[in-house]
């Protein structure tokens, strides 16, 4: 009933091209922001932050990054784990080399460094496409993990080969290290996710996004109408890697605290983020959120249901969890190949007409 665009007239092109053109959508967005910033921090505890919120927020940033590259620009990448590792190690080196600089700046700089690395590994995309490019980015994944394992400079010659985040504060509140309060870690990630989503949305609704989508949909036609494929593809790699680098830095510094590269940023991480993007919906910022939420929440939900609700042994539940998640992904992709974002779009279209669909 209330989900209507009737009567909501646009009198300027700026109004027409805004992110939420329908009033109800806009208000719902403000409500979600309000709850996320003003309510959740006061009610969450350690379990919720570590099991649900931090992974969701951080994976959502990574999914936004990968969605720009794969969903918007059509370049399949299996190097997400490697690029997250670049962000993490860049952040670690910056944190230990310049302890007096704010961690927030380190995280952003880590994103910038990852963007530069992403551009280098994006160069093959100018010649190769599709599966072959996926294989090339797979090489990036293995190479990056290998180099972080093999060059001691990256982990400051520590005996264990691990990197661990020293304690850092923002406005006097510690956000990394053992003393971190759950809400502080949550807030840092939330701020980064909100800004990432806004920036990504602005890029994708403007000319940059149109160039990327043009390359995705038909690269030859894109070139004929004036898109420089070199610039378009490399800028997609840069922007995508920037967000993925930020995600990696937060994953290491705020979420895990200590990281062993092969374990935290292995090939499984690349696949996990790719699944999020595919399940959430290629070419949709909302889809990145939905996909991250789906793959973070589902295992937690299943565990609570099987172990807590039905009283099954933990190991049995853990194995079954894989089976169920896998089966759900397949079932889901058969039912709606365009992901959760498409389901959401269809639901909204139905809602606009409800309750008189004719």
């Amino acid at each position: 009933m209330f989900y209507r665009e009737a009567g909501d007239f646009k009198t300027s092109y700026a109004e027409d091209s805004q992110t939420f053109p329908i009033k109800f959508d806009r208000y719902r967005y403000y409500v979600v922001l309000l709850i996320a910033f003003a309510v959740v921090p006061f009610i969450i505890n350690d379990y919720w932050v570590n099991a649900v919120f931090l992974p969701f927020l951080i994976y959502a940033i990574a999914a936004i990054g990968l969605n720009i590259l794969t969903g918007y620009c059509g370049q399949v990448s299996l190097g997400t784990g490697g690029f997250m590792a670049v962000g993490a190690y860049a952040c670690y080196k910056l944190m230990t080399s310049f302890p007096e600089v704010s961690i927030l700046i380190h995280v952003i700089l880590a994103g910038g460094i990852t963007a530069a690395v992403g551009v280098v590994f994006g160069l093959p995309s100018l010649r190769i496409k599709g599966f072959y490019l996926a294989v090339a980015t797979l090489a990036a994944q293995f190479f990056l993990v290998w180099i972080f394992n093999r060059v001691p400079w990256f982990y400051n010659y520590s005996a264990s080969g691990q990197i661990s985040a020293p304690e850092r504060t923002v406005l006097g509140v510690s956000v990394t290290g053992a003393e971190t309060a759950p809400w502080a870690a949550y807030m840092v990630c939330l701020v980064f996710l909100t800004l990432s989503a806004i920036l990504a949305r602005n890029l994708t609704r403007g000319m940059a996004g149109r160039k990327w989508m043009a390359i995705r949909d038909m690269d030859i036609a894109a070139e004929i109408i004036g898109v420089d494929p070199l610039k378009a593809k490399l800028s997609a790699f840069a922007v995508s890697s920037f967000f993925i680098g930020i995600a990696g830095a937060l994953f290491f510094a705020v979420y895990l605290g200590a990281v062993e590269v092969g374990e935290a940023f292995g090939i499984t991480k690349s696949f996990l983020v790719l699944f999020m993007v595919i399940i959430g919906g290629l070419g949709s910022i909302f889809g990145s959120f939905a996909g991250a939420a789906f793959l973070v929440l589902l295992p937690v939900l299943l565990k609570n249901l099987l172990v807590g609700g039905l009283g099954w042994p933990t190991d049995l539940a853990a194995h079954l969890e894989f089976v169920i998640v896998g089966a759900l992904i397949i079932a889901f992709l058969v039912a709606e190949p365009h992901g959760l974002a498409q389901l959401w779009r269809v639901a909204k279209e139905k809602l606009r007409l409800w309750p008189f669909p004719h």
Binding site: A14, M207, R210, M218, I225, G226
Partner: protein
């Protein structure tokens, strides 16, 4: 012979400008196949120039040479009084040459509006950071170019499908959206590769009207390939006829119609 630098007036009172593009002795080979052999012709400002010929005559190859998609082995392309070096297709587009395709080449995953907006690439220069923040130049550019795009959308009467994804449109409308995208670039030369292919009579009439209106109202120079002889002879100011990669005729529709080579190769005669 007309002076290439001087404008002239046609019989029906239209003023045709000086030569804007000149092809000089173009030869294009693919391995052993000669697609275009030593062809020269020019395109004048404000005219509708048709390229016709049987299948495989090299018409589309010629259009691809003009739009920079192929680089000819021999010959020169002169554009606005200067010899054009061998450029990438996107650089040619930046110079103001827009085109449509024989098989529609729209971006299927984008809305009509976004498709037409891509035509404005040449006019938009805000950097990535400015676009990400969506303030100042980026926002201003977006609005200004949206206005220009809306004029084209109005002109081609596709307002009602503005926000529709292109993949949902029928063929005839897709052709029109593609024309809109090319037109949004405000090109100095508009290349149309078989704009009427696969259309019924009514759609052909619509498209012919749009082509004439575009030429008339914006003064856009148009070079087009078309198979429907009635359409070509009615629309165009001058016609180039190609056969097996060679030029066999060049002139006004009437001159071409009387040319014996053209009749033998392409037009044929009525058997009575």
């Amino acid at each position: 012979m007309l002076d290439s630098a001087e404008p002239y007036t046609t019989e029906d009172g239209r003023t045709i400008g000086p030569v804007v593009m000149e092809m000089k002795n173009i030869t294009l080979r693919f391995g052993g196949v000669v697609a275009i052999q030593d062809i020269s012709f020019d395109i004048r400002e404000g005219e509708i120039r048709a390229i016709i010929g049987p299948n495989g005559a090299g018409k589309s190859s010629m259009l691809n040479v003009i739009s920079g998609f192929y680089n000819p082995q021999d010959g020169e392309v002169w554009y606005k009084g200067e010899k054009r070096p061998s450029l990438k297709p996107y650089q040619v587009a930046q110079q103001g040459i827009a085109r449509t395709f024989q098989n529609i080449a729209l971006f299927e995953g984008m809305s009509v509006l976004d498709n037409v907006m891509t035509g404005r690439i040449r006019q938009m220069s805000a950097g990535l950071v400015a676009q990400a923040i969506w303030k100042g130049k980026a926002e201003r550019e977006e609005t200004e170019n949206r206005e220009a795009v809306e004029r084209v959308i109005d002109f081609l009467e596709i307002q009602h499908i503005r926000k529709t994804p292109v993949s949902r449109l029928p063929y005839g409308l897709k052709k029109r959206v593609e024309l809109a995208r090319a037109l949004a670039a405000e090109p100095s030369i508009l290349l149309l590769d078989e704009p009427m292919a696969g259309m019924n009579v009514e759609e052909k009439e619509d498209m012919s009207r749009f082509i004439l209106d575009v030429n008339d109202e914006f003064g856009t120079t148009i070079a087009l390939i078309e198979h429907d002889m009635g359409v070509v002879m009615d629309l165009s100011d001058r016609v180039v006829v190609m056969d097996y990669g060679k030029k066999i005729g060049d002139g006004t529709p009437d001159e071409v119609r009387r040319n014996q080579d053209v009749i033998d190769a392409y037009l044929g005669v009525a058997h009575d």
